[in-house]
């Protein structure tokens, strides 16, 4: 089962790349050169892999893990982008005020502020859902736009740099920045992502809470009638944790990559991470793999734009095709299964 999943994933990636190449060729671009640039930007060198692919995969993995928590309970958090920005704002604010504080304190403090901000950003949708049954799909999505506007205001107002020229913040304190792997731009955030993936793998697999998420997501009526699970509570906590993960990702992006707040800090990480999580079927360890895959595509897209003059958005074609192919495979498999899922044959047939 696991092997076939990997095979389908590889096939989907292959089909995606072929569709991209065909599209580029049809549009008059030099397709082989473009794909070569894509490869160079993603895996072409140690530096490209670590500083391009892996650096971009960090937010995708961390947000993706949070998405998995929510989606496992069938609570659809579409607002990770906004929670990411809320985390980035809090991290910047904290980072600016932590000058002179040693890193062992400053870095966790930034993370804590970021995670708390992400949690608070989803608190309103959670309250609306639990209290009034407002669909979180809509409320979390809408708060993304609010968060983006908030960043825009912050970098031209309260958090604008001292000279008041550019729409961005001052750089955060040196001690609040994450240590790098020497010779690359890869930062400590990758270890955080791997650690969280392992922790979540254990939670999903072994703990009562992991099971309650699953039962709530697959059979909310049965979970509630069993009298063992308070479904509303489980959904609320799943969403709050999901927000905390996305907020943390924002804090790690500021502390490890940008060192400052500015608009368009995220090239849509909060949305791409949904695909990352779904592609991994919400399995934490697989999210690490799909996170790196999508990180590679994002990184390769940048190189394609630089070297072959092709808009980076073209790589969305690959991402889109991968998702479509996997959905198609899943639907086909499910249909094949349901045709067998009929009553037992009568005794005489046995």
């Amino acid at each position: 089962m696991k092997g076939s999943g990997l095979l389908t994933g590889a096939a989907a990636l292959g089909i995606g790349l072929i569709v991209l190449a065909a599209g580029l060729w049809a549009a008059g671009f030099d397709a082989p050169a473009a794909l070569a640039a894509l490869w160079r930007g993603a895996f072409g060198s140690w530096y490209a892999f670590t500083s391009g692919t892996l650096v971009r995969s960090v937010p995708l993995i961390i947000i993706g893990l949070g998405i998995a928590v929510a989606f496992r309970a069938n609570a659809l958090n579409i607002g990770a982008e906004g929670q990411f920005y809320a985390g980035a704002i809090a991290a910047t604010w904290a980072g600016l005020h932590l000058g002179g504080v040693p890193s062992v304190i400053a870095i966790p403090a930034v993370w804590l502020a970021a995670a708390a901000a992400g949690t608070m950003w989803i608190a309103l949708p959670v309250w609306l859902r639990v209290r009034f049954g407002v669909l979180e799909v809509i409320s979390t999505l809408l708060l993304n736009f609010v968060a983006e506007s908030l960043v825009s205001w912050m970098v031209q107002g309260p958090l604008q740099e001292a000279k008041r020229i550019y729409p961005q913040s001052d750089p955060i304190a040196e001690t609040a920045r994450l240590p790098l792997v020497p010779g690359t731009r890869l930062h400590l955030g990758l270890l955080v992502g791997l650690g969280l993936a392992l922790a979540l793998w254990f939670v999903f697999r072994r703990t009562v809470w992991g099971f309650e998420l699953l039962a709530t997501g697959t059979g909310p009526r049965a979970a509630s009638v069993s009298g063992r699970i308070r479904v509303g509570r489980v959904i609320a906590f799943a969403l709050l944790w999901s927000g905390a993960f996305a907020g943390l990702a924002g804090g790690i992006e500021v502390g490890g990559v940008s060192y400052a707040l500015f608009q368009n800090l995220s090239p849509g990480y909060g949305f791409t991470a949904i695909a990352v999580a779904l592609l991994a079927r919400l399995r934490p360890l697989a999210i690490v793999a799909t996170g790196i895959l999508f990180g590679a595509l994002e990184s390769g897209a940048g190189a394609m734009q630089r070297d072959a003059g092709i808009p980076a958005v073209a790589v969305f074609v690959v991402e889109g095709v991968i998702i479509l192919v996997l959905l198609l495979v899943e639907a086909t498999v499910r249909r094949a299964r349901t045709t067998v899922a009929l009553p037992d044959p009568p005794p005489e047939a046995a």
């Binding site: 099971f211 699953l214 039962a215 049965a222 009929l342």
Partner: protein
């Protein structure tokens, strides 16, 4: 002899690996009521769905009034004069009775003309219905009447009725039977699918029994007995209806007690149960008889601990096991493995939970043991619950409930959709739990089954809970279900 209204010859139908019909022959003569009997899964509904164009047979011929046909859709079937009353309600909830009838019959009339035509129809067939009532506000019996009127409105001459009396009180069922007989007297032909043997003998001219997709008996109803029909359906002598004898009921200590209990309706619109007082002792099996929608659901769910009372006192000794009516959406999670479903039912107090960690091996072993003890037919504990047959799913639900060692068991229609043997097994398990000291509160729509198996009966009618007199029979309890107050003053 005249040409038969409908003939089905050598019908074969398979669903994947399951052979639902293995060459079934069935003849419906003109002007007769023909009862089609069989256990769940015997192929009754499948056979009628083939005749109605809902399913295409893999082999076999369909002959309507001497002409070989192959209806590809219900529309084709209706054109041939075939109407069907389904087991599940098929009306549009937001439309009125008249609009629903017009929709099925294809009448394009002005509201006033429509209203008059509907009134004329309902009074002619003798099934009173308010043409302006919205379908979703109708009581269950009226909903069932609407289904039948809809089929008749389309000028059907052949009527296929799939368990039309399953959810009705005895006198309401009699009304439906009377209408079907009247339809036959006027020259129509009707197939009555049922699993109630006495109903088949009473209502039908001829009977056909199916077992495992084959016809095991066809004959004149008057020449049959309930025993001969049961043997044809099950293939062996039926299990004893009363089950094994139990020792005398102790009634002490009292495990469920409620006084002047008021409960809200499940949809929040008004009061479901008013001023209910009752007590159930250890070792007692108390039955609840009610027509759907009279408050019995809310009563059972309150005792089961799912909803809080609006007013009054409710004391229930734990642990309480609740067995929901709908095993596929409320009992089990079909996507998840049997082990997961057992884990779901026992929660954090289960022996395999240690400080918030689940020992899945222990849970799997216990599930495997349950599968053996209850004879559940499944490849193993890792099988998704959704692929089991209804009877085996219900065994899982019951086994899981008993695993709690409950002092109180509340069961909603625990034998719904089960065949006779599986149903007998469920009742035996509940009886065994009562012998072990549990108090059991159980509702079943099948009144015969309920009265056979319980120590005493409570009737719920329009939110009022009334004890049925000792030894009250089906007729008496049936009358109380429709609002007569029984032995107590109103």
């Amino acid at each position: 002899m005249t040409v038969p209204a409908l003939e089905l010859r050598g019908i074969v139908k398979r669903f994947g690996p399951v052979q639902a019909l293995r060459g079934a022959d069935f003849t419906l003569r003109a002007g007769e009521v023909h009862a089609l009997l069989g256990e769940n899964g015997a192929g009754k509904s499948t056979l009628m769905h083939v005749a109605y164009g809902l399913l295409r047979p893999d082999a076999g011929t369909i002959v309507v009034r001497g002409r070989t046909v192959m209806p590809r859709s219900p529309r084709d079937a209706r054109r041939l004069g075939i109407g069907m009353v389904h087991q599940h309600f098929t009306s549009v909830p937001a439309l009125t009775v008249a609009e629903n009838i017009a929709l099925t019959a294809g009448w394009g009339l002005s509201p006033r003309a429509l209203r008059e035509r509907v009134l004329a129809l309902t009074s002619r067939v003798g099934l009173p219905l308010d043409p302006d009532a919205r379908a979703d506000t109708l009581p269950v019996a009226a909903k069932q009447r609407l289904e039948i009127v809809k089929a008749l409105a389309a000028d059907a001459t052949i009527l296929l009725l799939d368990e039309p009396t399953a959810v009705l009180a005895p006198s309401e069922a009699d009304e439906v039977i009377r209408v079907i007989r009247g339809f036959a007297t006027e020259g129509g032909s009707a197939v009555l699918i049922t699993h109630k043997l006495d109903e088949a003998l009473r209502a039908a001219d001829r009977v056909t029994a199916l077992r495992a997709g084959r016809v095991t008996l066809t004959g004149v109803a008057a020449e049959q007995t309930p025993e001969s029909l049961a043997r044809a359906m099950i293939g062996s002598d039926p299990p004893s209806r009363r089950g094994p004898a139990r020792r005398a009921v102790t009634e002490q200590p009292v495990l469920v007690r409620c006084e002047m209990l008021d409960l809200s309706r499940e949809d929040g619109r008004g009061i479901a149960i008013r001023g209910a007082s009752l007590a159930i002792g250890a070792g007692e099996i108390v039955g609840v008889a009610a027509v759907e929608g009279n408050g019995q659901r809310e009563l059972l769910r309150a005792v089961g601990g799912l909803v809080r009372p609006l007013r009054g006192r409710l004391d229930v000794s734990g642990p309480v096991a609740f067995i929901p009516e709908d095993r596929t959406s409320e009992g089990l999670i079909g996507e998840l493995a049997l082990t997961d479903n057992v884990v779901l039912g026992l929660g954090r107090t289960a022996p395999w939970v240690h400080s918030a960690l689940i020992d899945w091996n222990a849970a799997r072993q216990r599930t495997a043991a349950i599968i053996r003890e209850f004879g559940i037919r499944t490849p193993g504990p890792d099988t998704p619950a959704g692929v089991l047959s209804g009877g085996n799913q219900q065994k899982v639900v019951i086994a899981r409930a008993l695993e709690l060692l409950p002092r109180v068991i509340v069961a909603e229609n625990p034998t719904r959709g089960l065949d006779v043997l599986a149903a007998a097994d469920v009742w035996d398990r509940l009886a065994a739990a009562a012998v072990a000291g549990a108090a059991v509160l159980v509702h079943a729509t099948d009144l015969d089954e309920l009265l056979d198996r319980v120590d005493r009966t409570l009737v719920v009618a329009q939110g009022i809970v009334t004890p049925a007199p000792d030894g009250a029979g089906k007729t008496e309890v049936g009358a109380m279900m429709l609002g007569a107050r029984g032995s107590l003053p109103a």
